[in-house]
């Protein structure tokens, strides 16, 4: 049984690949080329995403991973430092928890 569940869940790397694609779609290929996106990349500092881009990104996450992933709701409960520190890997973990 355990194994079955394991198989349906995506691994961190798989989630990262999907998120990387979404980021490229949202901020544009030519800008992504200049960035080295890793799970340790921070949303605001490294990817320089503004609120409109974050909303567009979260729509894509929702459409792909399911409605129960309330990305913007999750963000709205953070304080400023948490948002500033927010890294791609935090979102990967959040998606895994929600799956």
């Amino acid at each position: 049984m355990d194994q079955l569940i394991q198989e349906t869940k995506l691994s961190n790397e798989e989630i990262f690949t999907v998120l990387n694609q979404f980021i490229t779609e949202v901020i544009g290929e030519e800008f992504v080329e200049e960035m080295d996106i890793t799970p340790a990349s921070s949303f605001t500092k490294d990817l320089e995403m503004d609120s409109i881009e974050i909303v567009a990104f979260s729509e894509k996450v929702k459409a792909h991973f399911g409605e129960n992933i309330d990305f913007t709701g999750w963000l709205s409960n953070m304080d400023l430092d948490e948002i500033i520190q927010l890294k791609l890997e935090n979102i990967i973990n959040y998606i895994r928890e929600c799956q």
Binding site: K45, D50, L80
Partner: protein, 391 residues
């Protein structure tokens, strides 16, 4: 007495209102942390800097001012911290002692504090002097954080309450702004307020501050192609070269005349269709333009729509994104985010703004709301009425 911050965009509308008040025979002074050049001060007014009390804070003031240059490279939430925690609150703390003395010397009937210069309202509260606030930008930049981001709301509340307590103000009300009269220099239609609180008075743009900068009018008159004015305002010194470099790339070979308000020294050569000058008589130049490019500094935004022109706004930091959203909502311009600025897109967007009439029509509608808001006359009438009741 106007209490202003060391940011010209915030001082500018107070200079215009102050000029009108002086013309009506009132006594007007400004006070702040750094003096502004005498030529900007309306005749009969004066700018008082309490140097003696500020002396011990000089290093901190220099550091905070320098820190503002980091704004463009910071993220939204970092800018929020920079603004409130690292700038507005420390400036309020630094100003209190000197301001208190200046107020005792001048004995103002009314203190008018700029919206980010909390010391003015705090001092007025402590001394029981009637207080008005001026707001040069559309209010509500942060949105309804109590609902949308409770922890950020809490952070704001805590910082402001902490400051008030430190100064011996025990009330639970926020007294960093006036609750009696807040004069906002835009229209409520543009700012997206259908039903503002009664003390919020939207008077639209004001004008009349002295600006005697010379300009090569002959060269401008001789231009036959569409004219576009470009300004990055008075801050944001560090990114000028990059920004204007992109503009050169986009427009050097286009049938356009670009009037760029920036230090010409940042490039050795400018294309022939660029007229470049550091300080310009902006309010006289913009009426002769066909479109404006700016980052969203509010005085340029007001000048643009007062002349019914479309705008390409390239928000960088601070409240620029909020302003850009308002412009797109109103349909009077297009936003291209500075950090995602593509040269080709700059070019196509400017031609879209120049050729598609709908942007100009929307901009003219905003002009109507601005004119109807009353400008200088309305601001003066509100202040005179307030002073009569308050004294």
């Amino acid at each position: 007495m106007f209490v202003v911050p060391p940011f010209f965009g915030h001082v500018s509308p107070t200079l215009s209102v102050g000029a009108s008040l002086l013309a009506r025979g009132h006594q007007v002074v400004w006070t702040g942390i750094t003096a502004i050049a005498g030529q900007h001060i309306p005749e009969g007014g004066s700018f008082i800097v309490p140097h003696q009390e500020l002396e011990e804070h000089q290093d901190e003031i220099v550091r905070i001012l320098k820190r503002q240059d980091d704004g463009p490279s910071l993220s939204g939430p970092e800018v929020m911290k920079l603004a409130l925690e690292e700038t507005y609150i420390p400036f309020a703390r630094i100003m209190m002692k000197g301001l208190s003395r200046v107020v005792d010397d001048f004995q103002p009937d009314v203190i008018i504090n700029d919206c980010i210069t909390f010391a003015g309202a705090l001092c007025a509260y402590l001394k029981g002097i009637p207080c008005v606030t001026t707001t040069p930008v559309p209010p509500d930049v942060m949105g309804d954080t109590a609902q949308s981001a409770p922890k950020i709301f809490e952070w704001q509340q805590k910082l402001i309450k902490g400051l008030q307590k430190e100064l011996g103000i025990e009330t639970d009300d926020f007294v960093i702004h006036s609750h009696q009269l807040n004069i906002v220099f835009t229209s409520k239609e543009f700012a997206g307020f259908s039903d503002p609180e009664p003390h919020m008075k939207f008077v639209g743009p004001v004008k009349g501050r002295p600006n005697n900068a010379p300009f090569d009018w002959e060269r401008l008159e001789a231009a036959t192609t569409p004219k576009v004015f470009v300004s990055l305002g008075t801050l944001l010194v560090d990114i000028r070269k990059e920004f204007f470099g992109k503009l050169i790339e986009a427009f050097a070979n286009e049938p356009l005349t670009i009037v760029a308000a920036t230090d010409p020294g940042i490039f050795e050569h400018w294309p022939d269709n660029f007229i470049v000058q550091s300080f310009v008589p902006q309010s006289e130049i913009i009426p002769k333009m066909d479109a404006v490019i700016c980052h969203g500094g509010f005085n340029t935004v007001n000048d643009t729509f007062m002349n019914g022109l479309p705008m390409l706004i390239t928000p960088i930091a601070y409240d620029h994104f909020h302003t850009a959203a308002l412009i797109e909502n109103a349909g009077c311009g297009i936003k291209l985010r500075y950090k995602r600025l593509r040269v080709a897109e700059l070019r196509t967007t400017i031609w879209e703004l120049l050729k598609n009439e709908k942007y100009r029509l929307a901009a003219r509608h905003i002009r109507e709301t601005f004119t109807k808001a009353g400008g200088n006359n309305q601001a003066v009438a509100l202040l005179e009425e307030f002073a009569m009741i308050g004294v």
